[in-house]
């Protein structure tokens, strides 16, 4: 019970600090994009519009008012769930983001799982070979891996498994001809709910390469942190104690070493997963995956300010949510922080 209270307290505190952060971020976004030398009013009208029409549009959009007033109007609209209309797609930004966000979340969540599995397995392996000749080799190998960011992995995997061996699909979320069930917007979940197994399998096949690319790119830093946390944990007396008690090495590793070493790894994961969420942007473009990243880049190419603002803010919220979730997990796993 006490744990729930502590976690609830943390959640309230974190959400309260997140509000000013979001306010500043939204103000920054608003200002950066207002320096742009494009006129949103002229852009949302047909090219043959007269100067008077553009002026009328400007005042209708509030562009003739001072900047802080414009920001106030925008913020007020934002709080009512209205981020504006896309200039290019002529649709509500909320709807556009609502259509693409689930795809990105699915991608990020599965990629995180891949990264966690690779990171923990790799970290344990790096720790296992400590002091042997393999260590130098593996260490070198992990720097090699660190030098390949997710977008190079995406291209590399696409080339090998998509183009040379042609074993996996690499564009979009579903092959043509597959039915796309819509319930929640999360494709994997929806095909599971509707029992559409062939769509589910096809969607999963489409996700293998992008998720592997993101997961593999993220795992080397996790491996290295886990390894050094394990090394630190093994300096402590309780490991020695456990050995004296005659516990098996495996039990010492899992019950004592890993249990303590997982905490620093977890707090790094919070930061890394935030980065991963941004990294989906490149991976989405490379695999023509219809998520927020593609929406964002389309918007940038068309100087579509409402979408850039809306999507930018959504990415920020996602990062904050991820970090709050990771912090709560940290609290659940770390008894030192609970008792106070």
């Amino acid at each position: 019970m006490r744990m729930f209270a502590t976690i609830a307290k943390l959640l309230v505190k974190r959400v309260l600090t997140a509000i000013p952060i979001l306010l500043v971020v939204s103000a920054l976004l608003f200002c950066i994009l207002r320096i742009l030398p494009v006129d949103p009013a002229a852009m949302s009208l047909p090219p043959n519009a007269t100067v008077q029409e553009i002026e009328a549009m400007r005042s209708e959009m509030g562009l003739d008012r001072p900047l802080y007033e414009q920001y106030g109007i925008w913020l007020n609209q934002l709080l009512h769930g209205n981020i504006g209309r896309s200039i290019h797609f002529r649709q509500d930004v909320t709807a556009l983001i609502g259509n693409t966000l689930p795809a990105t979340i699915e991608l990020a969540v599965i990629a995180m799982m891949v990264a966690t599995v690779f990171g923990i397995a790799g970290g344990l392996f790096l720790f296992y070979v400590r002091g042997t000749r393999m260590e130098a080799v593996m260490d070198f190998f992990s720097i090699l891996l660190l030098s390949l960011p997710e977008f190079l992995w995406s291209l590399f995997l696409l080339l090998v498994f998509g183009v040379f061996f042609e074993v996996l699909p690499f564009t979009g979320r579903l092959s043509p001809g597959f039915e796309r069930p819509v319930v929640t917007g999360f494709l994997l979940l929806d095909s599971l709910i509707t029992g559409n197994i062939s769509s589910l399998i096809n969607a999963l096949q489409h996700m293998i390469l992008p998720c592997l690319a993101l997961g593999i790119a993220l795992s080397p830093s996790l491996m290295r942190v886990l390894r050094s946390s394990l090394l630190d944990a093994y300096q402590d007396d309780y490991i020695h104690q456990a050995r004296l008690r005659g516990l098996s090495e495996k039990r010492i590793l899992v019950r004592h070493g890993l249990k303590n070493a997982i905490l620093p790894t977890l707090s790094l994961m919070g930061v890394q997963f935030g980065f991963l969420f941004g990294g989906t942007l490149l991976v989405e473009i490379i695999y023509s995956y219809p998520g927020m990243g593609n929406l964002m880049v389309d918007a940038i190419r068309n100087a579509d300010l409402p979408i850039i603002q809306g999507a930018g803010l959504t990415y920020c919220i996602a990062v904050l949510v991820i970090s709050i979730v990771v912090d709560s997990l940290y609290l659940i796993l770390n008894p030192k922080l609970r008792v106070r």
Binding site: V25, I32, L159, F277, I300, V319
Partner: protein, 285 residues
Amino acid sequence: MRPLPLWLKSGRVQTGLVIIFILGICAIFAPYLAPNDPNEQNLLAILTPPAWADGGDLMFPLGTDSLGRCVLSRLIFGARVALTVAFTASVGAMIIGATLAHIAGYFGGWIDWLIGRVVEIWLSFPPVILSLILMVGLGTGLRNVVVAIILVDWTRFCRVLRSEVIVLRRRDYVSAAQLVGFSHWRTITREILPGTLPLLITLMSLEMGVAVIVEAILSFVGMSVGSETPAWGQMIADARQNIYEAPFNLIAPILAIFFAVFGFNILGDGLRRTLDTRLTQTERT
């Protein structure tokens, strides 16, 4: 002859320096090394394979792209953008990040709180997204790429260095300097900076690798230098259109980026091991 300093003896540092040296030569002497003009289009010879493959042309050792431009020449000229961005952006990010870190760590109090909050706000943006948004605001061009990377990545320096400064500030020799009546400026530059320097140099080397990646990402989405300047990310974007006809065009810039980033990373790792005594001590035990 004086013996080599310890850090130069490290194999990792040497590997890194050799790689960066090779790239530096490519960048500086690009006009002499490149077999062709990187922007010259040969519409009669588009997408030719590398010279060793069937149908390859010795004129174009690594083949040509979709506009018949020489891949090798573009690769060599691309090193210019990559290295310029790597060096200038990392120096800029270091100056801003290190200055704020020293101020925050040394003085503490409200200024530390303020800088801490700014870093927190910055970290709530995924770096790729923030740099893209900045590029939208700033407009394309080499200078703006550098500015965008500096504005995104100074937090990397600030966060890590600040905690280092806090550790050093509590040392006796810093208190001694303050008692003797050193000004704050003198205490920071003479007493604290020498202590944070190894970490600072290591971070800079790693940041150069990050800058190469970010520039490649930005030019991949067409938000970096203009199309008249060859850049590795652009080459990837171009090659992706013809992935079946000319897969090698995609492999070449990928390898170039990897080579550069690996050089900076292995240099950084070597420096971390040899310069940062605190880390090596824990590793030795």
